[in-house]
Subunit: 376 residues, 2 copies
């Protein structure tokens, strides 16, 4: 049984998509239930833009509807869609364990953690136009690769297709250009969270990423949950984040408990291959937001800010295959006896998150064979 | 007299914005002239999505209207707006001279050109939500910096605020996820070009950019022209691009002349400080498009693909101050006798482009003083 509580976009029998709220196996039709025209939109964006008091009053009204036995549409009758129009997509690198593991693999001859890492939440912009909803198949990307041991540049399907287990926050209320958003204003701007699979072609990435960062190694697809879980439903899951050393600059100091206690797991073709928790992330969401806007950059409704891969310190808690398999050197064994260094065609990956009683919307994706250009 | 021929969005006396075509000092109201409802939109996007035959028939109809003496609205009566809703913003690094110059400055102890540079058009995603239209003031960004010689991380207004002179292409017709767009399909997807000023805070960029690329050093603002110049008006400006060595992989081989012979200049507070030409770019626009989609990434209406800084090989032909001033060591002298290593508050920068008889829309921006967060 797959769970997931939150707001999403669904349609019935080819009708126009509209906004719904999922609980368990059913979807509540919010426009149909009389909650307002804003839910007749084909994306969550108009609702997201309304702001915190509207978000909370809507949840209170949903709560009353559910208590009174409102009718739910069975989930299997609903076609689901990308829940919101993605503005900008930013991907951070906020797990100390992941950054250390990747640094070791990508720069074996240097200090794994670069000097800036403990001073600021390192991040970059990804491709928002290729953010897709859970269930969308992922075509294995083609591209250039060159290992240090290769004489020539090669072209072809990636041979090191990977996942990244991430948690992202979704912006509701935007800000004005030139005006930083402080970490303490986080809850006034941010509506909720989704799980993210930031699919990665490690061989393409390794060859292209210097000096301007990942591009084609990531831009072919990024999958998010169907259902956006409002922060207001996660109030009891905020816990203290790991201690930071050195103490960050004042604009990155945010009072209160800002780590999210959400248990996470990665299932690969039927076998759970990793279990971890989002609470271990070094940089918190309000710090990420304060950093991303401290230069005056504005945010907008639908902006997606992902954590970066979430890895724990123990074996079996890493959020990517490159870490789980030690760069492919130690393949993992699946329940059917087969092994994986990286993803194979037809593999299905499912990311799941659980916050106590509440399940986040899962993120599913199946790998389709490559379709390289003919003239390559 | 400032020129600029192309499509843009304007409004009169607080009315709803609509699409216009500028020639010289006047704007043709395309909806008013009966060219179709698509021009009543508040952005060019619906028109861009129509495709090449609609773009060309529209230009033919505009040509007839102009020949018959259609009435133009005087430019000074029109309020102008961002011409299109920006999808994803990609910034390349396609000038050999610029990449070499920057490599020398950012990595003084290594080969300036990284091994991948001659094999693929290096690029990354920028922030689309902070793309602004010419004339929008730019607030000096605040951020973290740390020079190798500094003991501590500093926070404050950038002291190395710079420009980047670029030319960008604007996507009209999108593509499907999972299906690469070949270079030969370039003209079916791409509508036109704009000049771009990719404002850059060099000190913020230098501290943050490893290993995931530029982020806050660029994301505070990127300025584009008011007027988008259709490729169809630049037919006679396509010339042979520089020879490439080594020959690129087959997917990057595109027949025909694909460099654009557009003369460019940078004016800084009244003095022209750089003159160059877009035709010297090593990687061409169809190569950039073929590369950006070879992994199956889709493109969408309004996507903006910028060239990266355009620098020539001679002194005074560099497209950024960091190059013109040799990292600030050799300030340039302005007409009023003052000197600049980097931009000062109240400086105004104007980028101009000329393709024979035709002027591209200029890009203007003035620097406002920093507004750092109080708690920093």
């Amino acid at each position: 049984v797959n769970g997931g509580v939150g707001f999403g976009v669904f349609s019935l029998d080819g009708d126009e998509p509209r906004v719904g709220f999922r609980v368990g196996h059913g979807v509540l039709d919010l426009a149909g239930a009389g909650l307002g025209d804003v839910f007749e939109a084909t994306s969550l964006n108009p609702f997201l833009a309304l702001g915190r008091s509207a978000w909370e009053s809507t949840l209170a009204r949903i709560d009353r509807l559910v208590t009174r036995g409102a009718e739910f549409i069975p989930l299997e009758q609903a076609t689901t869609h990308l829940p919101f129009v993605v503005g900008d997509y930013v991907d951070f690198y906020s797990s100390l364990e992941h950054a250390t593991n990747l640094g070791r693999l990508f720069r074996p001859d240097a200090e794994p953690l670069l000097p800036n890492w403990r001073h600021l939440p390192v991040g970059y912009h990804g491709r928002s136009g290729t953010v897709v909803v859970s269930g969308t198949p992922v075509v294995r990307p083609c591209g250039q690769t060159k290992r240090p041991s290769d004489d020539e540049v090669r072209f072809g399907p990636t041979r090191r297709l990977d996942i990244e287990l991430e948690l992202a926050f979704v912006v509701g209320v935007g800000s004005r250009l030139g005006e930083p958003v402080s970490g303490s204003a986080f809850r006034d701007h941010v509506f909720g969270v989704v799980l993210v699979n930031d699919w990665s072609a490690r061989d393409i990435q390794a060859w292209e990423y210097q000096p301007l960062g990942p591009f084609l190694g990531k831009s072919f697809a990024t999958s998010i949950s169907i259902w956006v879980t409002p922060l207001a439903l996660l109030e009891d899951r905020f816990v203290a984040a790991p201690a930071q050393d050195p103490e960050p600059l004042p604009y990155l100091r945010v009072r209160g408990d800002w780590a999210l206690d959400i248990e996470l797991e990665v299932e690969l073709s039927g076998t759970v291959v990793s279990r971890t928790n989002a609470r271990g992330l070094y940089w918190t969401m309000p710090q990420q937001l304060a950093h991303a806007t401290v230069n005056g950059a504005s945010i907008a409704t639908g902006d997606l800010f992902a954590s970066g891969t979430i890895s724990g310190s123990e074996q079996g808690s890493e959020g990517s295959l490159i870490e789980l398999t030690r760069n492919g050197a130690h393949p993992i064994r699946l329940g059917d006896g087969s092994t994986r260094a990286f993803l194979e065609d037809d593999d299905e990956v499912i990311l799941r998150g659980r916050a106590g009683e509440l399940e986040l919307g899962e993120v599913r994706g199946t790998i389709l064979p490559a379709r390289c250009p003919r003239n390559s």
